[in-house]
Symmetry: C2
Subunit: 353 residues, 2 copies
């Protein structure tokens, strides 16, 4: 739903009175200024009983003994880009990793590493964005930490988030449960996040409507699970793109995966940018797309369920799992030829997330 | 138990064959080099079934519905110092925050933000240290993430850890449960970590035997709880020191806390350094000390229990909680005069943890 996304311009409420206009070292020192940042910035944005207990950690009641637990750090540059920012990325990214375990996202921790001199307004806008997307996906920010490093020892804002969720599946979801005969489903078109970041960073303007696919995938994934589809594995496509996700799963599952090039949806503006820049879209980063492995017999129904969700309207079957060569990923071209897909060995674009 | 601590020199096993000698951007790119770092560095060190599933998150079974969840980032400089390093700090710090909730530490996530050019051997030594201290406190590293930023955009290694633990107390432990009449217990002497970091950073040598108090506090805290002591609040003394911890708790509890200066143990070498540098030891950072609030009637027994543990041999009662002025912390001097203890407003020493 790119058109419904909030723009950073919407977070127009001003920085609270009494905060410095820039981050200074003492904001990470654990004294008065750290305290002020918590009281004026973080508690008003993220406030909930766990956070407000002002303790070293959050004491929580989980609905179940079976949980998922994950973490990611975010170092994306630029901090703001069409369709998102480092804050929405940091919340959605960890929400998505929980969803890929088949878990309902419940609680999030946030660790900021700030560079001395960072405009307070920049942090404020990032925090407001985190508040907004956390609310949308129903995850609560229950604990946090802020460190400050000297000017030139960081790069504006780095964010780490860690999340826990309640597992909502009976069968375990993981690469080792992928079976020959499984269909490979893709939830939507690929490459929007990678090309958007690159275009923003370099000042290119390929298309005016290009924006990141950054989104929380928990709704669409939990929908698929609640319909009783036998899901063997889920993986969101982040840095490394579709190609790296497939290779990692083929290697962990010790089966072969074959995908059909013609079945993988690539937006026209992403395809155009790739042609100009010599990129292969299957290596481009995404932040709101995932693949699912389901038995072939369930695949049509699963696609229908995905398509009923706004984030899955372009969902499709892109390939299948074969006994074949363990760990191999092949792509069949429009002409019927086959090529081996490998992980990228260098780096297509640094600091994409 | 400073004398029994492992020195970094003990982690003498070499960096595995096949890894680059320095971190390059592609180690954070999600492709082949990221994969290699996981396979050759992280899995051999931290390996367990959750991590080895190579999934986006760890699926875990908790012993109870009641959990604690916390996070901290670590940006300490220098990375290695007498008594610890950024790795042991990152594991013990989060273990300690869980312990302060009255939780048994169970699972940890680790997020590395590495600077391009970092010697691989430095990362290896930090990882070996994390492995070693995680094993000592019984916490499992179940998920992780690595990002790399360009040379000059980071500072060697930043680490975020997030931890979950199983709550082991019936009564909630938090600042709001502190009551007038409670005794304030301190687990040991203060200031070792702060002075050690400063001395290492500046090349001072006050005393040859000065080293950080960095330690996992879960054992001593769980011991106190298992003896049935009615613990109202626990807080480990980190950046901001004893003073900031007391002020934070007095404010959250809305009671007055009074401590006796003469009762607070300060090692001779720390006191000497403070006199030279003009520091007040109650503001110095610690990484292996905590305060506990217990009813006065339980305080003598609690001190005895703490003293039976090697990390609590200098435990003592340093003050008490009074109805008095809400949020006020006062210190009674050796001469009987009283002064107000406030949070530090600037920063005594940056990047202490």
């Amino acid at each position: 739903m790119p058109s419904e996304k909030k723009s950073i311009a919407d977070f127009s409420c001003p920085v609270p009175v009494g905060l410095y206009s820039n981050i200074v070292m003492a904001h990470g020192g654990g004294g008065k200024l750290s305290h002020q940042l918590i009281e004026k910035m973080f508690l008003p944005a993220f406030g909930n009983p766990a956070l407000e207990s002002r303790h070293d950690g959050a004491s929580l009641e989980m609905p179940s003994h079976k949980i998922a637990f994950t973490t990611d750090s975010y170092v994306v540059q630029p901090l703001f880009f069409p369709g998102g920012d480092i804050g929405s990325l940091a919340v959605n990214g960890t929400v998505n990793d929980l969803a890929m375990c088949g878990a309902r996202p419940l609680y999030l921790t946030v660790g900021f590493i700030l560079e001395e001199g960072l405009p307070m307004d920049t942090l404020w806008r990032v925090v407001q964005s985190m508040k907004s997307v956390a609310r949308e996906s129903g995850i609560e920010i229950v604990a946090g930490d802020t460190k400050v490093v000297e000017r030139g020892k960081g790069d504006g804002i780095f964010i780490n988030t860690a999340g826990i969720g309640a597992l909502e599946t009976k069968q375990p979801i993981s690469p080792v449960h992928v079976r020959p005969g499984d269909a490979v489903l893709l939830s939507g078109d690929i490459g929007r996040h990678g090309i958007t970041i690159m275009a923003t960073r370099e000042g290119f303007e390929f298309e005016t409507d290009l924006e990141s696919d950054c989104a929380a995938l928990s709704g669409i994934v939990l929908g698929l699970l609640s319909e009783g589809v036998e899901v063997h594995c889920l993986r969101d496509l982040t840095r490394g793109g579709l190609a790296s996700a497939l290779v990692e799963i083929a290697e962990a599952a010790q089966h072969q995966i074959e995908i059909q090039e013609a079945k993988v949806p690539v937006p026209e503006n992403v395809r155009g940018a790739c042609e100009i820049l010599g990129f292969d879209p299957i290596y481009l980063a995404n932040e709101g797309r995932f693949i699912a492995f389901v038995p072939a017999s369930e695949s049509e129904r699963a696609v229908e369920i995905l398509r009923a969700h706004p984030l899955g309207k372009d969902a499709c079957i892109i390939g299948s799992v074969m006994a074949g060569s363990p760990g191999l990923v092949t792509q069949r071209s429009r002409l019927g030829t086959s090529r081996i897909i490998d992980m990228i060995s260098g780096e297509q674009m640094p600091r994409i997330c």
